[in-house]
């Protein structure tokens, strides 16, 4: 309906395989990034940043990471929480060990570390498939959480067993610590999200992505036509791990500032991120964003309605939240097993063919 594609033709393969081949989509994308980078920073305040934007940005990174593993490569993982913890603690150790280095690199390095850990726990995927693998990744979840709980070195022997993010700056602007500016933290995370999204897109639209999807769709056939399963799966774990690690690092250093591993990076975190990509849509970058947005906004919404308007006690609201999220997930899976991304795709197709039905 809004699409005008006549005359929008491609004369090079580069143009044909670009991220947004359709002009209209491309412009929409420019518009969104314009708003995200040049408008929002000037209008947001602490509440919006902490309640919505930071969690959304950071979970999006995690969701993209997990989506690469689950949605693109078909390796189900329930260890996301644990891997985020690795990112967080990795970042913490780096921040405290090399205060002079920019936090930017700490976060990146934390991602790197996580991807190594992720690969270690991914190795069994060569032998184990499906649910067995899913459960196996729980090993990572519990072991890692236990590790950060029990080995004092990781939390620098602090009495509380917590880790607290010291103040760090980028270009002299504080992005971690108690007194940060809303826009600063927002932009800091936004930059990471943008980088991650671009990387993910590039990987998934090219050879690597096809290799992953081949493994996902039919691993045996894939191997017979020349896909090296080891390389494919390991690379998926590595990339996924990197993203998840980065998100974990940001989650701790920028968003929370202080973390007690058990409650922040527990099994529920793993499921939360998994829900995000299921609801958003497996095998879709857009889906990762949509899912993250959905599950970040929903609780905020519920809280505002129940506590704010109906004046319920918060604990009840929390229970109801559980109930509703659970219900929603089920309804979603029944209505559209392929998630928001699929709805989006269908809608887009309809708009492109408008006024024709097909």
């Amino acid at each position: 309906m809004f699409y005008r594609e006549a005359g929008d033709f491609k004369t090079t393969y580069a143009a044909d395989s670009q991220t947004f081949p359709i002009k209209f989509d491309r412009f929409r994308y420019y518009a969104v990034s314009f708003v995200a980078f040049l408008i929002i920073p000037f209008v947001i305040n602490d509440y919006w940043v902490n309640a919505i934007f930071l969690p959304f940005l950071i979970y999006s990174i995690a969701a993209i990471g997990l989506n690469i593993l689950v949605g693109y490569c078909g390796q189900v993982s329930l260890g996301t929480g644990g891997f985020m913890a690795v990112g967080a603690y990795g970042c913490y150790k780096l921040m405290t060990a090399f205060p002079e280095v920019s936090i930017f690199f700490h976060v990146l390095l934390a991602g790197g570390i996580t991807s190594i850990v992720c690969v270690l726990f991914g190795l069994p995927s060569l032998r184990i498939k499906g649910f067995y693998l899913a459960v196996a990744t729980l090993a990572a979840q519990f072991f890692l959480v236990w590790l950060f709980n029990r080995v004092p070195w990781f939390y620098n022997y602090s009495a509380s067993g917590q880790i607290n993010a010291p103040e760090r700056t980028v270009f002299g602007i504080e992005v971690t610590g108690p007194n940060t500016e809303a826009w600063a933290t927002y932009l800091f995370c936004l930059v990471f999200l943008t980088i991650c999204a671009l990387i993910a897109r590039n990987l998934t639209r090219g050879t690597q992505g096809r290799t992953w999807m081949a493994i996902r769709d039919m691993d045996i056939a894939a191997e017979i036509i020349g896909v090296n399963p080891l390389k494919a799966k390991i690379s998926a774990f590595a990339v996924s791990g990197f993203f998840v690690g980065v998100s974990g690092a940001l989650f701790f250093s920028v968003y929370l500032g202080a973390v007690e591993v058990g409650e922040v990076f527990g099994i529920n975190k793993s499921f939360l991120v998994l829900f995000m990509i299921i609801i958003g849509g497996l095998g879709s970058i857009f889906g990762s964003f949509a899912g993250a947005a959905f599950l970040v906004l929903l609780p905020v919404l519920l809280k505002n309605v129940l506590v704010g308007m109906l004046g319920w006690p918060t604990d009840l609201a929390a229970h109801l939240e559980f109930l509703i999220i659970g219900g929603l997930i089920i309804t979603f899976l029944i209505a559209e097993p392929h998630g928001l991304a699929q709805l989006w795709r269908v809608a887009k197709e309809k708009l492109r063919l408008w006024p024709f039905p097909h």
Binding site: M1, Y3, R4, E5, A6, G7, D8, F9, K10, T11, T12, Y13, A15, D16, R352, L353, W354, P355, F356, P357, H358
Partner: protein
């Protein structure tokens, strides 16, 4: 016709225009072809090099000035280059219909004595080889797609790219010759020879000079203000004069870009991708497209369908006027622009007409509804009247004066006069040189002053000065009672129904008219599905009583409207039948441009005509058919003959006096 090439700034030939474009628009796209998934593009500079290489290659191969070079294939840049390359070396390009059977080709190749042929692929090569023994003068053949040809004897068979390579290699040897030959080309040297698939008898080779082509192209471009920015999609047969004028004449004159689709199946998607700004199609294409639109909208949800029809009605009301710049109420304009956002815009876009500035339809009369439909969407679709002998343009509709029932005013530099018997004559710079090797028919068509008989009957409307075509002059006859018999007039009225594809009306010299009818398989088939009527074949569907009923209704409504016209009220259809097979070019019942050869049809189906007149309720017949692969077969059927109500004509006598 004492114009000289001064009028066109010394650009006396297509190759000359090529040189100019290469200089002026060097970096601008000249040709695009969807191949290997993207639009491969050649700028004018590239084109100039490609053509030069080919030309040199041709000289190298021994092509001499005045030789005839046949060109057989679907629209591809290579063939357009070939045409110009052939011209550059002083030879004459002769494009053929690539879907015509071997023996048809044999005739044309033999008639013009072609020594060379540039063809597309194995299929065409095989066809030519099959008839080669009938062609004594034929020597070399050049093919573009090497697939499956490697094992052929290559003594006289060459790959296009190799010829070009040889040309490049031999540049030093031949470039001077090429330049010399090019410079010899004048405004009166032959530009191209096109064979008209005459509705009767063997095709005739129409010789068109550079003057004909360039002058007509130039005039037409100025008439519609075409410029180098236009995009066109070349998909109509290359052997047809229209394609030559648009894709060569106008393209070279203005320097706009010619786009070639990837394959017939992808034609529609390619059309949408390119979104031409200047578009030409025969009525048939618009008809089928409209039918598809309606069919597709049938499947749409209730709301959408309502919205669609609601706004289409509004468009019918004001769309045309808005396009013609006539005054329209503000509210209507607003509603129209809303409709444009919701329906017209998207629809045009999905159909690929999103960017069309000027669109033409010609060759046959187009149904008013169809015509209005496209115009009401805001597509500037116009009609023109022309023929090969005139290098297309005889009359055209100027913007703002567009109507379904006329073909517009005389094109620039065209003089027209109507003979007493109503036949239309014209004279223009576009008038052809001669019919090749056929002085008699040349003389019979074109007189000493250069007036050419169109063979069509028509008249100018006093008020508007627009030309109206009644019918082909030779088809116009007299009924037994002396009243006028103009089959086309009635046939068109019937053909405007989406479920009627072809009609052949008989009645010359008879006391009443009868008709053969072909149903449109797409439309009727779809209708059948919706009313779950099962059918196995065209024949079965055509014989279905329900179908016959609908057709009968159409016939009777048409009879009513025919009766209203005093001159032609005698032409009402008294009896009709729905043919058991589609009229087909392969069976010689139609021309390659899908015009009915009524004489041939008449005697091929003589038994049916007789049956229609002797009043039998049914008739059994057997007909020979030709399959795509050339095999012959025969189908037999028993057809039901229907009587159609006719309106008793009272004032007819009055009209006659």
């Amino acid at each position: 016709m004492v114009q000289s090439s001064q009028a066109t700034g010394g650009l006396a030939s297509i190759p000359a225009l090529l040189q100019r474009n290469a200089d002026q628009h060097g970096a601008k796209a000249a040709y695009r072809e969807k191949e290997f998934g993207i639009w491969q593009t050649w700028t004018w500079a590239d084109t100039e090099k490609e053509i030069e290489a080919l030309a040199l290659g041709l000289i190298n191969l021994g092509v001499a000035e005045g030789d005839f070079v046949a060109i057989i294939g679907r629209n591809r840049p290579y063939f357009y280059w070939s045409m110009v390359a052939v011209q550059s070396v002083g030879a004459v390009p002769v494009p053929l219909y690539h879907d015509s059977a071997a023996d048809e080709m044999a005739y044309v190749l033999g008639h013009c004595g072609a020594q060379y042929a540039i063809v597309e692929d194995q299929e065409q090569v095989d066809k030519v080889i099959e008839v080669q023994d009938q062609l004594h003068q034929f020597t070399h053949m050049i093919y573009i797609d090497p697939r499956g040809l490697r094992k052929y004897d290559h003594h006289q068979l060459h790959q296009f790219s190799h010829i070009q390579d040889q040309g490049r290699a031999a540049r030093d040897e031949w470039i001077t010759d090429l330049k010399e030959r090019r410079s010899k080309l004048t405004y009166d040297s032959t530009c191209v020879m096109l064979y008209t698939s005459g509705t009767t008898g063997k095709p005739k080779g129409v010789v068109l000079s550079n003057r004909n082509i360039i002058e007509s192209a130039k005039n037409a471009c100025e008439f519609d203000k075409l410029n180098a920015g236009e995009e066109i999609l070349a998909y109509l047969p290359m052997a047809w004069v229209g394609d030559f004028i648009f894709s060569i004449g106008q393209a070279y004159w203005t320097g706009f870009c010619v786009n070639c689709p990837e394959s017939p199946e992808t034609m529609m998607t390619d059309l949408r991708e390119i979104g031409p700004t200047y578009y030409f199609a025969p009525p048939r294409v618009f008809e089928t497209q409209l039918t598809n639109v309606m069919i597709r909208m049938e499947d749409a949800g209730g709301f959408k369908r309502k919205m669609f029809h609601h706004f289409m009605d509004h468009a019918k009301k004001v769309g045309g006027d808005i396009l013609d710049g006539k005054p329209v109420g503000l509210m209507d304009r607003l509603k129209y622009s809303l409709g444009n956002a919701l329906v017209y815009g998207p629809l045009k876009d999905t159909l690929g007409f999103g960017r069309v500035r000027v669109g033409y339809t010609a060759g046959e009369a187009i149904g008013p509804e169809i015509f209005e439909f496209y115009r009401s969407l805001g597509i500037n679709l116009k009609q023109l009247y022309g023929q090969t002998e005139a290098s297309v343009f005889i009359t055209v509709q100027p913007d703002g004066e567009v109507r379904a029932d006329t073909v517009g005013v005389p094109a620039p530099d065209v003089e027209i006069r109507i003979a007493d018997d109503g036949e239309i004559f014209y004279r223009s710079p576009g008038v052809f040189v001669e019919y090749f090797n056929n002085p008699d028919s040349t003389a019979s068509t074109k007189d000493a002053e250069g007036w050419v008989a169109t063979g069509d009957a028509g008249f100018f409307e006093e008020d508007s000065g627009h030309l109206r075509i009644i019918d082909r002059a030779k088809d116009v006859g007299k009924m037994a009672d002396g009243s006028m018999f103009a089959p086309k007039y009635v046939e068109n009225k019937l053909k405007f129904y989406p479920d009627i594809l072809e009609v052949v009306l008989f009645g010359n010299g008879q006391d009443r008219c009868v008709a053969f009818i072909n149903i449109d398989l797409t439309a009727v088939g779809n209708w059948a599905e919706r009313n779950n009527i099962a059918y196995a074949s065209y024949q079965e569907l055509a014989g279905h009583p329900k179908v016959l009923d609908t057709i009968q209704n159409h016939v009777e409504t048409v009879n009513k409207s025919v009766a209203r016209d005093p001159m032609l009220s005698g032409c009402q259809v008294h009896r009709f039948l729905v043919l058991h097979k589609e009229l087909d070019a392969d069976d010689g019942e139609m021309t390659r441009t899908r015009k009915v050869r009524r004489v041939i049809v008449a005697d091929k189906f003589k038994d049916l005509v007789d049956a229609l007149y002797d009043g039998a309720p049914t008739v059994s017949t057997t007909t020979e058919v030709t399959y795509e692969d050339g095999r012959k077969g025969s189908i037999s059927a028993t057809l039901e003959l229907r009587d159609a109500k006719v309106v008793a004509v009272t004032h007819q006598q009055v009209a006659a006096e």
